[in-house]
Symmetry: C2
Subunit: 434 residues, 2 copies
């Protein structure tokens, strides 16, 4: 039997029961020892390894179905989950198991007249993650929620149905093996949108929803729910090359920001170049891009310098290509670059290449994005390079978590205030006397 | 002319323009020096002082109108804004001016191969605060948003219309005096609910909505908006007296938790008493309450010990009285108390009175509330007693801020990553070699 033949879909009516079980699992996970959580992660890593052929086959069935439906190449690239990507998730699980557990951390906040206030880090509870057809998220999001003591309901794009369903089964086996509730990580495997609607209505059972995807997905989620949401929205990311840039560095940063992983949200989509350096920078840079098949869409001045560039349209500035396409604009000043980013950007990841302290100061202060980079590739908006170990995604919100969201951002703090018969009336009187 | 005669209401169609002006103000406030923000706060303190008779008169007009409409005593108590309460806000403004400014704080997060990542504290942007008819919030919320560099749109309950409108004018004058944009603090003064609907639709202009109030207000807000929300919802707060409590301490804590400020969200609404100590505790405690007019609503066993107590109904356990009424239940065990709190509580503020380390440990671990107190009055869920200076309210959410929400919780962090031509490809290759 192929994976496709065995798949039965989650019925929307089942989602309520799944959320109830997640809630019960969360009550146990809240106090679960780090060792048990790590054991589940390691058991999952072993299963990914031993079931690699089955997982790859389920993914191949998903890809074949997607090709039949005529889906585009960025979607197919994200959907792919072959041996190499599975192997990388095996390593990720081992790395997440090795990360310190943030749950239970305490910090003393205040002490006054014998009253001691501390903050204790605790899991959030039940988290719903809604994402596109990227099977690696089924591993990553599951692992990070579990390690941070949360129960999670995973709803990936329906193109990845077969693969996600199998990964959900492996999660359950791994949790059981570690003597943790099997419902701590559950996959909602269906192409029926009513299941998402159902999930989003459960504000008495679900504490947080994390939607990862483009503006359409994000808006559909925020419109339908009263549950708190941390959006992982699209990145329209810019690199601005200042008049005072080191052009060799700039050229390398730009190439890396566009080509290292074009399908990720922090890949550069628009390049802004100060007119003073455009003549020197753009022609050789265009050669770099041409050699790897990047399409350039340029403003009039850009096209004059790079004859093979296509003319850019006003709409291009607001598009997240997620592909080997780059919009290029020559600007008159840093102010013009900042205004462009404010108008068309998504507040995600923006970089400046400059050797001038004042340009850098101004750019960092005026660009209101979650991650602002100086003389570095936009690819460095990445938890593994920022000492966070691993990320569930990159928050495009300002609330709770901004930028890469790791284990700590999947927890919250609870106040514990200890007195010895302290009453407020007396405390106020004491302070009124002062 | 009385304040009532001069009042013209904000039209719903004006709210969009107000939000645009708030956005523009936020762009300036983001980089405003602490001194200018403090000058506006001090100017507002002076105005509150010098305009005290006018403010009190506007408030008296509001109260008279509310009495005419037959509103209940807790509403009238919250609405009151006479010289004493105004004086307390003058002091609050001075205190907020004296607090350290969290904006601009930097912390180094990570450094690797010459790439340095820091987090810089920045304002959130434009905040909408929606609250009941409590004029002191028009001062507090305005002051805290301003000090933390945010522009704010204040929409208080329509019963406080006259008073809030006048306070809004004083905010504008104070901001102008400090050479800050007058639209940094704006009052939406209207009883037309379309104005709130309009505000909640502006997700491209407003970054955060803070609703403060009961479940009805909170739900109306979360249903209507796609803007991130931090709920300041109702507190159904408990004190549990353990079998191993010091009853003298318990008695004092309970009395303070109920009577110090019965109309605030962290006042105790339900008392849970372990059966082993009920006989000894309840009769004298009931005398304390009787002497100040607190109505007791007890379970069967409670009524047997306190004959004048009214019988409690099942519905009482889920009610936030905000008044001199207390529900009392005798429980068989700590487990029963924890289950009661989990079922009926609102996760806001809950306390245990006990001298037993194991009881305390279990209560703190199993009660999933924002603030858990040990041998201290629930009144200590208060920013001024927790080293935070002042609070915009008490968050009942787990996301971004939990418990008292002060200046720091009104900001967010932005990543600033500085390299020297760093590209990700090279960094990954280096780490693959390891």
């Amino acid at each position: 039997m192929s994976a496709q033949e065995t798949s039965s879909q989650t019925e929307p009516s089942q989602v309520l029961e799944m959320a109830r079980r997640a809630r019960a699992a969360a009550d146990i996970l809240r106090a679960a020892p780090t060792g048990a959580k790590n054991a589940a992660l390691e058991a999952m890593a072993e299963r990914l390894q031993s079931k690699m052929p089955e997982i790859a086959a389920a993914n191949a069935a998903d890809i074949a179905a997607a090709q039949e439906r005529g889906l585009e190449s960025p979607t197919l690239r994200r959907l792919g989950f072959g041996p190499e990507k599975i192997g990388s998730r095996v390593r990720a699980l081992t790395e997440i198991a090795a990360l310190p557990d943030p749950v239970g951390e305490e910090k003393s906040v205040h002490s006054e007249n014998g009253l001691r206030a501390t903050k204790r880090r605790v899991p959030i509870g039940v988290i719903g993650v809604i994402y596109e057809a990227r099977p690696h998220v089924t591993i990553n999001a599951g692992a990070l929620c579990l390690k941070s003591g949360n129960a999670v309901l995973l709803k990936g794009g329906s193109e990845a149905l077969n693969c996600n369903r199998l990964l959900g089964e492996l999660w359950q086996e791994s949790l059981e093996q570690a003597k943790l509730p099997a419902t701590a990580v559950q996959v909602i495997a269906t192409s029926d949108r009513d299941a998402v609607r159902q999930l989003l209505s459960l504000d008495h059972l679900v504490d947080l929803v994390i939607p990862r995807g483009g503006p359409g997905l994000i808006q559909a989620v925020t419109k339908q729910t009263q549950i708190p949401v941390i959006k992982h929205s699209h990145g329209i990311c810019h690199v601005y090359v200042d008049a005072h840039a080191d052009l060799d560095k700039a050229r390398a940063i730009i190439f890396d920001s566009k080509t290292y992983a074009p399908a990720v949200c922090n890949a550069m989509e628009t390049l802004l170049v100060h007119r003073a350096v455009a003549d020197e920078l753009l022609p050789p840079l265009a050669e770099d891009f041409k050699s790897v098949g990047v399409v350039l869409r340029g403003c009039g001045q850009t096209c004059a310098l790079v004859p093979w560039a296509e003319p850019v349209s006003e709409e291009d500035w607001g598009v997240e290509y997620l592909d080997l396409i780059l919009a290029v604009r020559i600007v008159e000043s840093l102010e013009e670059a900042v205004l462009h980013i404010g108008r068309f950007g998504s507040g995600h990841t923006d970089a400046i290449a400059s050797e001038d302290a004042e340009s850098i100061r101004q750019f960092v202060e005026e660009v209101d994005s979650g991650v602002v980079l100086i003389n570095a590739s936009t690819m460095f908006n990445d938890a593994s390079r920022l000492g966070m170990g691993a990320e569930i995604g990159i928050s495009s919100d300002k609330i709770h978590a901004r930028g890469p969201m790791g284990l700590r951002e999947l927890t919250c703090e609870k106040w514990v205030i200890e007195g010895n018969g302290h009453v407020f009336r007396a405390a106020q009187e004491r302070s009124d006397e002062v």
